[in-house]
């Protein structure tokens, strides 16, 4: 065990798996000599060489498409999009080539696509997006979103080992802000939800950065006993854990940093409305970003991103219901 940041935990997971398995290869823009825009792969090229830490042309479709090719002949590419926002430029290769290959042809595509996502530092409309729902709506892709350093490492390893294409959401605003004890060596975190805090009166369901917002918002809320469920995996979605939490708490707030409409949170809320209706003791409240691009200027961005205050308000409203 040693304490490290969420960012270093991702690096640690990548390094561990690269040492374990020669088939693993990293691809992306500026990940080699420069060590990545966020320095996740700092020092990697020295250890693993330019062939396994590949500085690619500025071409997201190229990165994903060639990774698919390399995967079906036995490599295990891990692609980095410099920012999650640029995944729109590799979108077609992900949803149509990688996502559908196994179902159609029986050929698994073992690639991992890392998406540094999320807002909170004035990245503006093109460096703050949370595009996970696009991929949740595209069959054949797994989508995971760790919130802690320990899970960040365990889930990058599990993603690489998973024979399917995995979209690995890493929230930029957790990179250096979140630290934790991380086991040494190789381990996997399952693609299942985790109870971040036990509680009985109400459950806040969240993932990624919003887990921390939820924990902070509910750490001390008028003495109520509030559970926080960290989904960790969005596809597969741990429906059992969600339904179990609702059964236990009867009141639910779903928090999502992404834009409101058709977000992961919409799916979770819809699931609850369909399968846990009888357990509900109040509306399924949602906190998410409104449907606008994430603005640049701090007061505007703060007005848009879900805040501790907004989560707290939603919980209060429901507790009083």
């Amino acid at each position: 065990m040693s304490e490290m940041t969420y960012l270093r935990a991702i690096s640690d997971g990548l390094r561990t798996e690269m040492r374990n398995d020669e088939r693993v290869l990293l691809m992306g823009e500026d990940i080699g000599v420069y060590g990545g825009a966020f320095k996740v792969t700092d020092g990697f090229i020295e250890e693993f060489g330019a062939d396994r830490v590949m500085d690619t042309p500025l071409a997201e479709s190229g990165i994903v498409g060639t990774a698919v090719g390399a995967a079906v002949v036995g490599l295990r590419p891990v692609c980095e999009m410099q920012f999650a926002d640029f995944v729109s430029c590799g979108f077609d290769q992900i949803v149509n080539v990688a996502g559908k290959m196994l179902y159609r042809q029986g050929l698994p595509v073992n690639i991992t696509v890392r998406l540094p996502s999320g807002g909170g530092f004035s990245g503006g409309p093109f460096h703050s997006q949370n595009p996970e729902a696009w991929f949740m709506h595209s069959p054949g892709l797994k989508v995971v979103a760790p919130s802690t350093a320990e899970d960040a490492k365990g889930m990058i390893i599990a993603s690489i080992r998973d024979p399917n294409p995995v979209i690995y959401m890493e929230h930029k605003n957790l990179y250096r802000r979140v630290k934790g004890e991380v086991p040494e060596g190789s381990y996997e975190t399952p693609f299942k939800a985790r109870v971040a805090r036990e509680g009985d009166d109400l459950v806040v369901i969240a993932y990624g950065a919003m887990v921390h917002t939820a924990l902070e918002a509910t750490a001390d809320l008028d003495g109520a006993s509030i559970m926080v469920l960290d989904l960790r995996s969005l596809v597969p979605l741990d429906e059992q854990a969600i339904l179990g939490a609702v059964q236990r708490c009867s009141k639910v707030v779903v928090v999502d940093e992404a834009n409101y409409t058709c977000a992961a949170g919409a799916q979770v809320a819809a699931l609850i409305a369909e399968r846990a209706f009888e357990d509900l003791d109040g509306p399924v409240l949602r906190v998410a970003s409104p449907d606008v691009p994430i603005p640049f200027s701090p007061p505007l961005e703060a007005a848009v991103l879900p805040s501790v205050e907004r989560v707290r308000e939603a919980c209060r409203q429901l507790l009083e219901y």
Partner: protein, 356 residues
């Protein structure tokens, strides 16, 4: 060089290839014809089955373009890997896919290569080293480049090959693949199947200059070949493969040909000048190869009959097979962690030069 429907030049004049027959035994040359005959017979049968309502969806064929896929694939080794496109059924045939499996595929039967999950030529049989194409054109160029990248990284003497049409060159993925292959000097062969139309759109609305001219500006050669000559296609591909596996990098081959049927079964191709079709009918690739073999004393008629019988039997078998079980419709969305790793396997490589 061949006449084009437009005023866009059909590729640069390429130095004449050496006589390809030096590389081909009579058996090879018969094999080329046989595969082309099979492709045509299977597609004709499928078209009939389509008209009878037995092939669901739409139906697309490669009538008149048989030499492009058959000739090129004849030059590929077992360990090479291919992404086969929608006019290139011949590639599957050369790699060893059985006619009954192909007809089952078209009819959406359980015994089809994709077990009914995908239609028409959208298939790749893992056991033949082929990745099934997606519709989005030309996405597979990047997949082929990626396979070649893996070969190069591992120091293997193998190459990847893919096809794409004239229209497909207009999309961004063409460029990303060409550029990637050029920068990394990958062992990949790109075959531009210039059949002069993309659906109804003539090439002059796709490009101002023939894309084969672009290869040089990506750092590798582009050559134009008579796409209706299976042996010329073989030879150009053989040379490209040699370059590829000896570290010489990619090649773009333009196969100059003509789409002789509509885009799909529904398309009467009113937009194509009749004279153009007539002109190209004279250049039929099967007629050309038949004439060659007749000169060598091969009994082409017997071969035709053999192929016909094979396809008859295949159709019978395919028609007897069941449709997929609806209860399986949601299976196989994800590959289980505990299941065995699945990778592409080697395909047939019938060329005598491989000594098999």
């Amino acid at each position: 060089m061949a006449t084009s429907s437009t005023d866009v030049p059909i590729g640069p004049s390429t130095p004449a290839l050496e006589d390809p027959s030096a590389q081909l035994t009579t058996e090879d040359r018969v094999g080329l014809l046989r595969a082309m005959l099979l492709m045509r017979a299977i597609e004709e049968r499928a078209m009939n089955l389509y008209r009878q309502g037995k092939v669901p969806g739409s139906f697309y064929d490669g009538f008149g373009q048989e030499a492009v896929s058959v000739g090129a694939t004849w030059a590929m080794a077992a360990a090479d890997r291919l992404c086969v496109l929608h006019r290139d059924l011949g590639a599957h045939i050369v790699r060893g896919v059985q006619p009954a499996a192909i007809l089952s595929q078209y009819m959406g039967r359980a015994a089809g290569i994709t077990n009914g999950r995908d239609g028409n030529v959208h298939f790749g049989d893992l056991r033949t080293g082929c990745v099934g194409m997606v519709s989005m054109l030309p996405d597979m160029m990047l997949v082929a480049a990626g396979m070649a990248m893996a070969f190069k990284l591992r120091g293997e003497q193998r190459c990847a090959l893919t096809w794409f049409g004239d229209g497909s060159t207009s999309r961004g993925d063409f460029h990303e693949a060409m550029n990637w292959a050029g920068v990394q000097q990958l062992p990949v062969i790109f075959i531009l199947e210039n059949n002069q139309f993309a659906y109804s759109t003539p090439i002059k609305q796709q490009f101002a200059v023939n894309p084969v001219e672009r290869a040089a500006a990506y750092g590798f050669p582009g050559v134009s070949v008579d796409g209706n000559d299976a042996e010329a296609m073989f030879e150009a591909t053989r040379l490209a493969r040699e370059r590829a596996i000896s570290g010489g990098g990619p090649t773009l081959i333009e196969a100059v040909t003509m789409r002789m049927h509509g885009h799909g079964a529904h398309d009467d191709m009113k937009y194509v000048p009749k004279a153009l079709v007539e002109e190209w009918r004279q250049k039929d690739p099967i007629d050309r190869q038949s004439a060659r073999l007749k000169e060598l004393g091969v009994d082409v008629e017997a071969l035709r009959q053999e192929v016909r019988a094979e396809v008859d039997a295949a159709a019978k078998k395919a028609l007897a097979g069941p449709m997929p079980d609806p209860a399986t419709a949601t299976d196989r969305l994800f590959h289980p962690r505990e299941a065995q790793e699945i990778l592409l396997e080697d395909g047939a490589a019938p060329w005598s030069g491989f000594g098999s």
